[in-house]
Every structure is written in structure tokens, then in C-alpha cells.
Amino acid sequence: MTQPPGTWSLCPAVAMHHVSVTYADAASPALRDVDLCVDEGELCLVVGPTGSGKSTLLGLVNGLVPHFTGGTVSGSVQVLGRDTREHRPRDLADVVGVVGQDPLAGFVTDTVEEELAYGMEQLALPPDVMRRRVEETLDLLGLAELRHRPLHDLSGGQQQRVAIGSVLTTHPRVLVLDEPTSALDPTAAEEVLAAVTRLVHDLGVTVLLAEHRVERVLQYADRVVHVEAGQVYAGDPAVVMERSSVAPPVVELGRLARWSPLPLSVRDARRRAAPLRARLRAVRPVPAAEPASQSSASQRSDGGRRPALDARGVVVRYGAVVAVAGVDLALQPGEITALMGRNGAGKSSLLWALQGTGPRQAGRVDAAGADPATLAPRDARTRVGLVPQQATDLLYLDTVAAECRRSDDESGAAVGTCAGLLQRFAPGVQPSQHPRDLSEGQRLALVLAVQLTADPAVLLLDEPTRGLDYGAKRRLRDTLRGLAARGRAVLLSTHDVEFVADVAQRVVVMADGEVVADGPTTSVVVGSPAFAPQVAKVLSPEHWLTVDEVRTALVAPAAS
């Protein structure tokens, strides 16, 4: 089964020739006439909006498309000389390792050590080899401490590293990763990416990696594959980014400043940003002057306003584990607040406790004169609305229209309220569609519409940006800004620093169940290596957070 030595260096790791994929019942092909060669030892970043065919492209590499998903594939896909027409995914298991989006869904065994060995057992490797490779992989990914731990008890970053380790033990030549950092906090994401780059540089593994948050990976990529509407275009990162529809802030800043070649990392950009910094200093000499969107900060400072939600000493514990340890938090009307902190810091527990549905052992919550926990669920949601992490848990009917009607019913709102909101948030959703068939962003919009039908004064969102592409995030940003403009208070938990910089006026950082920082976005986020957005890193010590801010600042003096 193995390639004779020497031949693999001649043929590329992955070669696709004129590949088109059409799924059953699909009107148009998911991928059209793809020609792609990935060489040995390349880190290949696959970018593109949701539904563009990224997952299909990754699935082709180990034959999951079409052997597992069905559909028709024309053209040829060769992985290290093996054609996926004749080789099923299991026959390619010794050369291709695949890690899916949700590591927990792919685990077969219970403990870290057994999971690492599982793939090798299937390949019938001798026991002494297995023993040695398990130890090596534990060290390579820093998992030695966790070897006997149950997989369910691990944090998200640890689970993702185990998932990568479990395919590495079979020594694959090609590694396929589908959004490996989408659920991780910035630090855990860096950990996983450090492990991946180490594999590429030290072991020469070929990596194909799909990622929505391009800013995290772009600087490590040798090549970028841009997928849009089934068309694939691959090339040097800086060249592809010139015209890519998805671009991280550092690239957008480079486009704005007309830098060529485009910077891909904060370091590249910073080395060229001195003139830009000087220009910006001329526009806005005092750091942290208020940008246009920060009108609410002045509202807050006028002091006399009553907060939309006032929580004091909130405690949430599960048995011996304290998730939230006495948090005070006041949300002002018209203000968007971001809740940050690493996985397991107690963000979700706090949101659920504030809404009143989750447990709360101590403290009080005051939402317009009442504690939502003491109200009936129907009344609580008219004061505080929550969009949970797994937004689809709320949906159970089979068409969008039925969900909307039901929501009007539940909230006692006028018929068509929910459908109207949905049309505003996500134009183009067909009422006859099944909620499961919607894209990530459309589904979020539907749940948001369902929850906003009750018109709560406070809206809480738990990780709303997970799995959203840049376009969907922009739409969510506009929706949230619209809510704030109408005097609603918004609190969202997220790991996405760029989104926070874009939308939030205030940032609350939690660690170990406590609030460790609370203040205006600019002062909390700038200067923190983990939480600072790219623009802030490029332009520090000036206080700029987003490309839009910079753009308006540069355009304004020209106009005046």
C-alpha cells in the first residue's frame, strides 16, 4: 500500500484535475472544474464564504466526497498517487488524516490514550510501534499530563489537540483540518496553530486547513486556496488576498493604504505602517477620542440613567465547581457590551443566570424592576432575551414560516412580526425552507428574530459569531447596532476579537468566574496581546480598532 520511496517527491501530495462535484438533488454543482496541486510540506489555507464549497473541497481529499456523502464527481483526485475513485476513506486512512469541526463528535473511545491509539489499531500496526508513537504524540502536542483523562472532561483546545494527535499517530502525509480553531479562545487557538505549524516545519506534513477567521492563520500559510461559488483559485497568499472576498483586517488595512505586496501578518504591516501612523496622528492627535459609534459612552457618563439590567453578586455553582463567583454587572440601554475570557471562564453560566432560566445560587438581578428568575418564562423573555450557543435547540418546526408564526403566537405579537424581523436581518430567506437547510448566519438570524419578537429590553447572545463568515458577521453587526440605536442593551460573549473591536463599546473580561476587567473597548483591548485586534496592533500606540475607523478618519479631512 505504501509508496515506494522517492516517488512521492515527484508527484504532489494532492492533485485534482478538472474535478466537478454535484450532489444529488442539487441544481448546480458544488464545485466546478477544479484544478489544484498541493505540494509536499505545504500549509494550504482554504478560504471562502459559507456554502462556497470549502467542506466539499476538503472532503474530496480523503474520498469522503463522494464515498460517504454521495453525489457525482467527475475528473480525478489523486492523493500521493492513489486515486480516490478506487480508494475509500478507510483505504486512505494511512496517508490522510482528517479532523472535523467538532472534535467531540469524532471521538470513538473514552480516554486520551485510547483515542490516540484507535487509528493505529485499525491499521494493524504492531503493539510496540503503537506504544512508541502514542508517547511521541503525547509529547509533540503537549498532552502527556492528560493521557488518562476522559475526553469529555477536556477543554475545547485540549480536545482539538487530541483530535489532531489521534490522526497524527498513523503518520499521515496529508492532514486535513476543517476550522480547527472556530470554537476556541484566542490563546487555545494559538496553541493549536502552533502545533500545526510545527508539524509542517519539522515533519514536512502537508496541511489543508479551512478557516473562517483568516486573520489567525494567514501568516502561516504557504498558499491560499480561494473558494467562491464553486470556483477555486489558488496562489501565493499575498496575490490571492489582493482580490479575495474574505480578507482579514490587516489585509484590508493594506488595501486601504495601498501597500504592495499586501501585508499578511501584523509584523509585515507594522514595518510599513510608520507613515500611516504619522498621518493618523495628524488627524486625531489625542488617543481614544470618541469615534462616531461611541455616542452611548457619553450617555453612560451622564450617570442619571437607570441601567436596563443590574446584577449584583451573581453566583453560579455546579456542585463543587464555582462557575460564576460573585459578579456585578450593569447593562446600559443603547450599549453593546462584549463578554470575553477563555473557554470555561463562566461566560455562558453568567448569561444564563442573567436571563433567569439558568441556575443562580446567590445575588440579585434587576431587569426593569423585576428579577427574571422569579417570572414565568413567558414574561422573563419580554425583559431579557437570550440566544444560546446552540441556537438550533430553539427550533423544532419544519419550515421557517411555521417557526415565525409560532413565535408571534408565543409572544402575543402581531402576525408577521417575526417574519418581518427576519426579512430585515437576513433578506432572502425563503419562508418554505427548512431551518436546518439554512446557512449558519441565516439560522442565527432566524433565532434572533424569534427571540426579538418578544421585544426584550436586554438581549444576551452566547457565542453568536461561531461559524459565521465575514459577510454574516457584518450583517450581525448591523443588526446589533440597530438594536442599540433603539435603546436596547446588548451583551454578547465571544472569542472573536475583531468582531468585538467592530461592534462593542464596552468589554468585560472574565476569568475563573470573576470579572477581571471592565471598561471601554479601546482601553481594555488595546495593549493586550491576546485580545487586541490586528489594526490596534499595527497602529499602536495610536488607539485605532477597526479598518472602518481608519477609513473614515482618512476620508474626513479630505472632504472638509
Binding site: N62, L64, F68, P89, R90, D91, L92, A93, D94, V96, G100, D102, A105, G106, F107, V108, G119, M120, E121, Q122, A124, M130, R131, E145, G157, Q158, V167, P186, T187, E191, R342, N343, G344, A345, W352, Q355, T357, A376, P377, D379, Q390, T392, D393, L394, L395, Y396, S407, E410, V450, Q451, A454, A511, D512, E514, V516, A517, V525, V526, G527, S528
Partner: protein
Amino acid sequence: MSQRAHSASRSRGSRLGDGSRLPRSLHPGAWWVWALGMAVAASRTTNPLLLVLLVAASAFVVAARRTSTPWGRSYRMYLLLGGVVIGVRVVLHVVVGFGYGTHVLLRLPLIPLPSWAAGIELGGPVHLESLLDATFQGLRLATLIICLGAANSLANPKRLLRSLPGALHEVGVAVVVAVSVLPQLAESVQRVRRAQRLRGDLSRGLRGVLRVAMPVLQNALERSVQLAAAMDSRGYGRRRPVPVSARRTTTALLLASLVLLCLGVYELLAAMGTPLLAVTLLLGGAASAVGGLALGGRQVTRSRYRPDRWRAAEWLTAGTGLACAAGLVVASRVDAAAVMVTMQPLTTPSLPPLAMLAVLVPALAVVTAPPPPSPPRQRRRLMDPGPAPSMPPDDDRAHHPLTQGATR
């Protein structure tokens, strides 16, 4: 003997140097043979003293050799279940049982039943003899359950499935996956119920079930598809190509074994069956099953990571269970009246020496089985121990938990 056992369990930490006593987990099969031996013994006796001794022996071994795993903590549940079984048996006897004997304990009012239920009495006198008989029968069933529960708490049931022969490996994986899905489903139901409270509507009845069931089932389906894709990508189900003839032979052997085993059981249980024919059929069936599995296992290409090995300790531990079963079978022949006690006439149960020795033998497992490996240190690390993001320099709380990592 029990003193030796005590000293062994006390000094297990200090005897690590002795190679045979290195802490390791015993092959799960050994624990199951051990427990099944005790269960067979329990099924051969109604003597309450013997049954209580059996339970005590199992409890002793469990206390000394279990691990602090979820299944290791399950023994108490089996004890409780045993208590419930005895209780139910006694209550049933009091309410609908046929009483016999001469000592009447109390008289319940007799509830007349319609003529079509003739032969069933509700209430009536409760006799001491039959009540004791019912209690002992309940105790026997409870002991059986507790013995099997002991095996369950000493050996990870999933590890037992891992030790299945190669041909049954895929069935074993399917069972393991199915078993792990159940707690996930329960968790999923909880999560969805909680999420739907956010919509404010708490409809009960069919609609309430539907609104929880739809997302839960959709999630479960999605998850299982993802798991199947992951397993396929990792090489699950790789097979060595085998000639058609070998595959056909496997099928034929397995079919034949099924037919033979069915006929054998029929011969064994039917009133006019001949024991010799029954045994011949059963042996033939077993042999062809072994052949079929061995042949089928040859097309599976798979190796095992750190397999459980069957060594001297396993032989000895399984042996204590088998000795217990054999001892009681012999004792029930030799001293039938003392082993299968009847309460008519009312007597104090005696303790036949051979049977007593037999039921105490399984307690020796404390000596024969090595101590279990020390449990992974229980540390509650909910967060990544990785480098923590540092905070803005103007933050005066230099020692806030964010920079200290998550140490508890």
C-alpha cells in the same frame, strides 16, 4: 485466611517492588468468570447464611480492588437493587402469595375476587414459614444481581467488549458507541429543554415531547453521521481481501452453530430430551461457532493497543470463582438439605462446612488480583493550562486569576 487478605490489602502500597504485585487492572474477563462462578453458586442455594457470606465476600473484594471510576462507584446501586428485589418479593408474597405452614404471623383481610380469578387470593393469613421461604428466594436473586454487579464495578464493561474476538470487533464497537450515546442523549434532552424555556412556551403533552424530540433526534442523527465519517476516515472497517470460499465457509459454520445450539437447548429443556444428545449438539454448536469466528477473524486486519493480558493472576482469580461454583454444586449433592433449606418444618439454617468454604473462596481474589492502578489524579481543570493572556498594563490587579492560570 481473612487475616492474610487484610494484611495483603494493607501492604499493597509497600510491595510494589514485587513484579507480580505491580498495580495493574485485571483482565475484565477474569472478573466476569469470578462473578459468574459466584452467581452459579448463589443459584444453587437458598441457605440465607451462605447467601449473606457470598455477598460479604463480593463486597470485600470490591472494596479492596475497585477504582474510583464511574463504574467503580456503581456497586452501591447493585446493593440497593438487591434490597429492592427482596422487598418486592416479600410484599408480593404477603399480598398474593400462597401461604403454608403452621405459624400464623398476622391475618390480612381477604379480598374477594371475581370467579374468573379463582385460585388467586388477595390478603389472607401470613405464615412465618412461607414468608421466610419467600425472603430467602428474594435473597438468592438479590445475591445473583449483586455478584454480577461486583463484576461490573471491578471491570470496565467497555474494556470487556474490547477483548472480543476479532470477528466480533465491529459488533463490539457498535455496542460501545450505542452505550456512549445514551448519556449524550440525556444531556442533549436537558440542553434542549432548557433552551426552549427561553421561548417562553412550556407546552406539555404530545406537543411538548415533539418540540424536545425534534432537535434532540436531529442532533443525534447529525452527530452519528459525523462519527461515522470520522471512523471511516480513520480506517474503521478496513479488511484484508479474502477468497470467496473462506467467506462462504465462515457463513456456513456460523449458521450451523446457531442451528445446533438451538436444537441442543431444546433437547436440554424438553421433557423427553436425552441428555447425551443435548450435550453432543451443544458441543458441536460451540465448536462450529469457534471455527466460524476464528475464520471470520482472519479477514480483520487490526491490532490492539496495550491489550489486557491473561496471566497467572487472571487464572487464579477466575479459579476462585469457578472453585466456588464447583464447591457448591458438590455440596448441594452431598448435603442437599442444608444447602437448599426448606422452612417446613421450621428449623434454624445450619452452616454446612464444605459449602461455607466454597462461598468464602472468592474472597481470596483480594490476594490473587493485583491492586488496581492508582487513579489519575483528580484535578478539576476546566480550563487550558496554557499561557494566559496578559491584561492591559493599566490594570492594577497584578495577581488576578487570569495571569495565574487555572490552578485549583
